[in-house]
């Protein structure tokens, strides 16, 4: 299994898209599939919370000095957007998470921190059921379409290992 999958699993958990049920299910499937599954997958199958899972993945990536050219911010924002699209979180919660994610470091291709705040404010000023709100939803979906695409591709790759 290549390191690219490992970092994509990290993105899935770091973004909150995968909860313990999902990563354990994935890890169990990988363990069953491979004769000698990677040790980090075995560890992942038994950890209880996302903090531990993230630590395991980061440490295992550090051991192999893994580095790649992909900006994972795009993928993480995409997973956050999917959480909103799948109605796990509402629009305001999504925009808050996205704003925090881009607070320290922005990503070319993703909406900027100030753009996200503008959308958040617009959302705050609408009733949540009017035409104005619908236009905000459209704007959000349009702005995060690139991220959603990045996340969907990454998820496909990760699930391909099951």
């Amino acid at each position: 299994m290549n390191n690219s999958v490992r970092i994509k699993v990290l993105d899935l958990i770091d973004s909150g898209y995968w909860k313990s049920v999902q990563w354990k299910e994935w890890a169990d499937a990988v363990i069953l599939k491979f004769d000698e599954p990677p040790y980090w997958v075995i560890e992942l199958s038994i950890v209880k919370n996302s903090g531990e899972a993230i630590s395991i993945l980061r440490e295992s990536l550090a051991e192999v000095h893994y580095k790649d050219d992909i900006n994972h911010k795009s993928i993480i924002l995409g997973y956050m957007f999917l959480r909103y699209k799948e109605k796990e979180i509402n629009l305001k919660e999504f925009l808050t998470l996205a704003w925090q994610e881009t607070e320290a470091e922005e990503d070319v291709g993703s909406p900027s921190n100030s753009d996200i705040f503008e959308m958040y404010e617009a959302c705050n000023n609408s009733s949540g059921a009017d035409e104005k709100f619908e236009s905000i939803v459209d704007r959000v979906c349009k702005n995060f379409s690139y991220n959603a695409e990045c996340a969907a591709k990454a998820l496909l790759e990760v699930n391909g290992y099951k």
């Binding site: 903090g51 990536l61 305001k92 704003w99 925090q100 921190n113 705050n124």
Partner: protein
Amino acid sequence: MYEDGPTRAALKQFSKDYVTAQDSIELAESLAPTVADTILTVVLTAATGVGGTVIVARAGQALFKQLGRLLVSLGKVLKKSELSKHIVSKLSNKPERFEIRRPEALKLSEPKRVEGNGNDGTMGGESVVPDSKGSTLIDSMEPAEAKRYQEYWNTGGDTAAQVSPGIRVSHTETVPSSRAGEVYERTTYYDEFGRRRKVTDYTDHSMSDGHTNPHDHYYDEVYDNGLYVNKKIKNPETGSTTFNR
């Protein structure tokens, strides 16, 4: 060794006893050795295997050699002890166990505020006091330097991830937000190694749904694409980097 009182007294007594134990001819030849002579003799005997002066009878050379080795060791210990005393005396002028003291935490002064020119005390490019000609600090910089300066402040002027070890006490500063116009108080906490561990923002960033005022951010050194970096930790419950109160 000679400067150490108890050692000097013991060697003086040794000299007397040794001389008393010799016969009259040796006593006459010894010319009543002093403590310094005795030390020199035994040390030379230890080092060369031969008596340094006539007071050493051939039969006693082995014992002198042994005593010499012991005195050399004693000398080293006494020298070390004496050096330690000197260090202590320079620091405190009283006998006490020497220990390296942790530096005091730096006390930072309040940010300066200048009335009537919009200066918010943050040093941000927009806040620099213009001179009589209306030019600002950035105007006086080389283009490359001005660009770097402006870029730094465009990041929101994040708090230092590493400070000198020992500075654990937080300091509060007025900082510009990544959003234009917002300025808020921020307190940063460091561990004993000077690594950033927690930041408290005294604002809700106008996002009251996601932030309490104040709220905290926790930091740790994590591996991130080839480097260990001091990054915000996410709340496992919410996936957010904000820990509300």
